[in-house]
Amino acid sequence: MNNNVLLYIGRFLSLVLVQVFILNHINFLGYLNPFIYIIFILLAPLNIHKSLFLFLSFVLGLTIDLFGDSGGVHATACLVIAYLRPVILRSVFGLSYEFQTVKLSKVGFGQRLAYVTLMVFIHHIVLFSLETFNFSHTLLIAKKTLFSSLFSIIAIMLVLVLFRRKDS
């Protein structure tokens, strides 16, 4: 238990640092950055206390906002996907989620991709809508959401494969 808490704290810090130091400065094709820090939300334990989870997601987003001078856009986006996570888990994993037997490292590639895609896409829609904050830029929001989502999904899937835990 104690070991797990340390693992989550370490994951929080390293994801924030990697995001802020490296990934926020990629600017592929001028504006594309992968947002992999939401792996923290994706991989949070399924039986985590819900209020604590909401609060942690908010703090995670706010930390990224602090570094990026973006007000509260990441905090909002993280909060929304943290709140919607049970719904998405239920729709993707069905019964095995209800019985709490699902393990992210064990599920098949298709299910994992569906889960990551849904979460990333919702996160990015909220993020870029609030970041642009202007309805006359709808096309820009759509373009950024689509391409950044692709970029993020690929990056997150790679990280999940590379850093898979080799426990039983």
Binding site: G30, G72, Y83, L130
Partner: protein, 275 residues
């Protein structure tokens, strides 16, 4: 009463969600209004320190190009003062104790620079203790960068010209017509100059400079060149696309402009407000 408490306990996650959502939306809305985005800012000691640490590693990679830029600027400055030969210097005495410079420049280094969002900010490593104040102009050797928005003891946050809230007075170099410089959020090297009256005579390649109508920038600091222009719907104003002299994706080092006459000018303009 019992029922209310039961309701609160049953829905505590949803209520917490609403509360945090409300909080983050307020922060978001504030970040989109000029001069109000003070709560969430990278000028605090933690983020500033982390960015400083990052800079101390990454600045070694750009030393060669930085040197090149400094040499270029020196060359340009030397060309400007080439008439100052030994004879002219001896005969010209300027009493610097009573001579009041209208502007003072403070050097600084960019710790963090954004250009991919619609509202971009720049973090610099000079703050209140170096004499930086809000509403000071920021330039590089090539042209303008933005205006200081928010300061802390050691760091300042600059609202980049690549920000939808930024509006800077700018005009043509060859005439006195002016307009306001805004950004449409698309290309980080092209900004738009609006509300230039249609009487202005424009040509592609004309230079756009700051026109000194505010206390922020002195007149004559370069901004860019005209690459395209058209009349707006009402046929009364020009909409001009300006290619920036600066590469906004690679700023490096900056100068902050302190206007020594700012408070005097402001008190003349608003005599009611005691400065």
């Amino acid at each position: 009463m019992q029922q209310i408490i039961n309701f609160l306990i049953r829905n505590k996650n949803f209520l917490l969600f609403l509360l945090l959502l409300f909080l983050s939306l307020i922060l978001t809305i504030q970040s989109h209004s000029y001069h109000k985005s003070k709560f969430i800012s990278s000028t605090n000691f933690l983020t500033g320190g982390v960015y400083g640490w990052r800079y101390s590693v990454s600045n070694y990679f750009g030393l060669k190009s930085d040197n090149e830029r400094l040499l270029q600027e020196n060359e340009q400055l030397r060309n400007q003062i080439s008439w100052l030969t030994a004879d002219t210097i001896v005969t010209k005495f300027v009493d610097t104790t009573s001579y009041n410079k209208p502007f003072t420049f403070i050097k600084g280094v960019v710790y963090k620079n954004d250009y991919s969002k619609v509202d971009n900010y720049i973090l610099i490593n000079k703050g209140e203790k170096d004499g930086i104040e809000p509403d000071m102009g920021i330039i590089t050797d090539k042209g303008i960068v933005g205006i200081v928005e928010n300061t802390s003891k050691n760091y300042s946050r600059v609202i980049s010209i690549l920000n939808s809230n930024s509006r800077i007075n700018a005009g043509l170099k060859k005439s006195n017509q002016y307009g306001s410089l805004v950004w449409n959020g698309k290309d980080p090297n092209i900004v738009q100059l609006e509300t230039v009256p249609r009487q202005a005579i424009l040509q592609k390649g004309d230079t756009i400079i700051t026109n000194g109508r505010s206390t922020i920038f002195p007149r004559g600091i370069g901004i860019g060149t005209i690459i395209n222009y058209k009349l707006d719907e009402n046929q009364s104003y020009f909409l001009i696309d300006v290619q920036l002299f600066n590469d906004m994706t690679d700023i490096g080092f900056i100068y902050a402009i302190k206007s020594n006459d700012a408070s005097e000018i402001r008190s003349l303009e608003n005599p009611k407000i005691d400065e």
